[in-house]
Amino acid sequence: MRPFDYHRPDAPDAACHAAAEAGAKFLAGGTNLVDLMKLEVMAPTALVDLSRLGLDRIEEDGEGLRLGATVTNSDLAADPRIRSQWPVLSRALLAGASGQLRNKATTGGNLLQRTRCPYFYDTSADCNKRDPGAGCAALGGVQRNHAILGTSDHCVALHPSDMAVALRALDARVALRDGDGLTRVIAMDDLYRLPGDRPDLETTLAPAELITAVHLPAPHGDRQVYRKVRDRASYAFALVSMGAVLAMDAGRITHAALAYGGLAPRPWRDTEAESLLIGERPSEALFAAVADRLLRDAHPHEGTEFKVPLARRVVAAVLREATQ
């Protein structure tokens, strides 16, 4: 690990200020950043510890909840309000990592964790995300945990977070604050960039911009499902995952928000595919049409073809469960 300065501010403005130094990074649970620093995939020159900022509370916020950026994944998953009204979020969190890791992992850190592409982790391999312009070893390499939607010729890496998938289906918003004390709130949809020709730029955050909270609006539906398909029954990242929030009235679907993990460089949503469901009665043919729409632009590479039929089955299974 390369040497770095360590700061432990006690207020968000001081944290943003400290992070304005070139080469500085925020440190939340450290479960991703410390890992990457050990491998020298990331080498920040300063760490700004967020653990003493008082951002570790879950508070009522109008119709919904305000999740502080340093609330741990286990506290969030176990919160009685989340369990009863936003179960898709509890389920997604519980499907991620291990008990030990969830005790450290935080809301902000989970959203901004880096990809698990093995070539990104291997500093001897070419990777445009780690080293812009270097090329992409994944493209000619072994592909299994790579994206099939939203990729570019420069990068096929996946966004790995389960929580982000659920938050996407719940129309969550992200509260930010920069070094000048300016605050803004953006939709989850606007947080992540697609790789294009700059896969190193993963989000729309400005340097030293801090996630202070996630706003969780009242859910649009009480039929909530999270399903995660992976190589092991537990403790592995998703091959394909899906979070669904649905409402029905008199046998017809009135609301559908469907988000996907394991398919794209960011938590994925396709509102066109969702709109096929509105006003319809559930049927296998309808579910297949949603999957067709979702996967119409899928661009699998050798090794990721299996994700197309797998995603179709996941879509059908989740919609069946959510509408029964």
Binding site: G29, L94, L101
Partner: protein, 167 residues
């Protein structure tokens, strides 16, 4: 950097480079070598300790971030005599090489507290507890601890016995 760390009830002053992980601080600076370094990347659970009442991977946590905090390692689980869980591991042959054992013990100790607090898991059918320690719940809740010797039958039997005698 100077920090204060209370480990198994004893308070220590340490002067550490910020790069030192909690695991290395325990093993190399405090000579508490019970906590093991397996993968060093959060994947095996051998380094599991209880910090602030919660089980964590000590290998991914910088020691300086624990300044002022309290940590329990395997050495602190049963100080004068073995804890019921430790005894159950011996009775049920819950180890072969023993490398994963300290992490298994710390993890299981904290996992049983999580169960008492009614925390759900990925395999829980309902999100509102309480939950029994079924085979599926046990496997899921302990999935962050890998055992290369595959002593899972003994480990599981030991954890269940400790749970039952505690009830």
């Amino acid at each position: 950097m100077n920090i204060e760390l209370t480990v198994n009830g004893d308070t220590h002053q340490l002067d550490l480079d910020p790069r030192v992980t909690l695991l290395d601080a325990l093993r190399d600076h405090l000579r508490l070598t019970g906590s093991k370094k397996g993968c060093d990347h959060g994947q095996c659970g051998a380094c599991t300790v209880i910090a602030g009442g919660r089980r964590i991977n000590a290998c991914l946590s910088l020691a300086v971030t624990h300044d002022g905090g309290a940590v329990t390692t395997v050495e602190g689980l049963g100080q004068d005599e073995l804890s019921p869980l430790q005894r159950a591991f011996v009775e049920h042959d819950g180890m072969q090489c023993g490398y994963c054992t300290p992490g298994q013990l710390c993890s299981a100790t904290a996992m049983l507290t999580e169960l008492d607090q009614g925390w759900p898991s990925h395999v829980s059918a309902e999100l509102d507890g309480p939950y029994d320690l079924t085979e599926a719940e046990l496997a899921e809740r302990m999935s962050g601890n890998l055992c290369r010797c595959s002593c899972y039958p003994g480990i599981n039997a030991a954890i269940r016995q400790a749970r039952e005698t505690a009830e």
